[in-house]
């Protein structure tokens, strides 16, 4: 059997891109069917896969592709209400040159996530404070 001439990293990236795409579409399908718990678990897997593939793409010098997959990871975590995590991915995505229109959309997404992340953290802090007060 002839050996593939493609670099192993290219094959791994392609395989992971395919996996991320499948997980995302499966998560979307589960969400469509109202199976929220299963959809959330699949969005976690999809987001993690997008995060990993972004690292591989960056290591391969494909900065713009890496950014697109970081935005995809951020969008998965947004769906789970994990806005502070999404903010980290969006900042990383914006650190490389992007087409003007696309950059504007990502900046808008970041601005909205920052607002929601503050609410998310305020709620978490209030819960913790209530727990501590009731424990006293």
């Amino acid at each position: 059997m002839p050996r593939s001439k493609r670099k192993p990293s290219a094959e791994l990236i392609d395989q992971m891109l395919g996996e991320a795409s499948w997980l995302l579409s499966h998560a979307q399908a589960l969400a469509d069917y109202g199976r929220q718990e299963e959809a959330s678990a699949e969005f976690v897997r999809a987001g993690s896969c997008e995060e990993q593939v972004a690292c591989l793409l960056e290591a391969d010098g494909q900065d713009r592709e890496a950014a697109i997959h970081r935005v995809s990871a951020a969008s998965c975590f947004e769906r789970l209400g994990l806005h502070s995590r999404a903010v980290t991915f969006l900042h990383a995505a914006l650190s490389v040159p992007l087409p003007k229109d696309y950059r504007a959309r990502v900046e808008q997404q970041l601005a909205s996530d920052l607002i929601l992340a503050r609410k998310e953290l305020n709620r978490a802090f209030a819960r913790r404070a209530r727990k501590q007060a009731s424990g006293v």
């Binding site: 395919g18 795409s21 995302l24 469509d32 713009r64 995809s72 992007l98 696309y102």
Partner: protein, 187 residues
């Protein structure tokens, strides 16, 4: 004019990087309201001609389905919102058409904000898909999707696929656009 007939279930294996079973069910849920199997569409291609059409720009698409898919589809209306059904049905029809008529037309998806972003990695093309039940909405949807597609994250050329799955009108407007086209557009 050429006619092609394909089963909607083909999409499940044609795009190994997408989970599309629910899109097949939703496409059947919608098509079976207006037609038995197969359901016919008039497809108009703009800016390209698929190799199988030998220079023509229109074809008849006949989409068939199995009883098993019909049974799944019957339950869809009980649980899904009509808008979601129409959009997923459009994705089903687009993935069927790309798989059969565009060589290397396997699709992938990423999430970009609130939107799913489809692309053809082997052809380096972006894809925007939309569906409606009302033919009068097709031109506006097509304009919007063309603008969205041309502002894609990769700056790629690509396809816009807008289908109308209505009681009387079943048409697909399928076009190819380049970034150059956008640059040269009058302001």
């Amino acid at each position: 004019m050429q006619t092609f007939e394909w089963p909607i279930e083909d999409i499940v294996t044609a795009h190994p990087d997408l989970y599309l079973e629910h899109c097949a069910a939703m496409a059947v849920a919608l098509m079976s309201r207006h037609s038995g199997s197969p359901c016919e569409f008039l497809v108009g291609c703009e800016g390209f001609s698929p190799p199988d059409l030998e220079g023509e720009t229109q074809f008849q698409l006949r989409v068939s389905w199995t009883e098993k898919t019909a049974n799944t589809a019957a339950r869809v209306w009980l649980t899904e919102q009509p808008k979601a059904i129409v959009e997923r049905a459009a994705i089903g029809l687009a993935s069927l058409t790309f798989a059969h008529i565009i060589p290397n037309g396997q699709m992938r998806v990423t999430e970009q904000g609130q939107r799913a972003d489809y692309w053809l990695p082997r052809l380096k093309c972006a894809v925007e898909i939309s569906g409606t039940e009302h033919s009068r909405e097709v031109p506006r949807r097509h304009r919007e999707k063309k603008a969205q597609m041309l502002s894609n994250a990769r700056n790629w050329d690509g396809y816009v696929f807008v289908c109308c799955i209505g009681a009387t009108h079943r048409v697909i407007r399928w076009s190819y656009h380049t970034q150059e086209e956008q640059e040269n557009a009058p302001i």
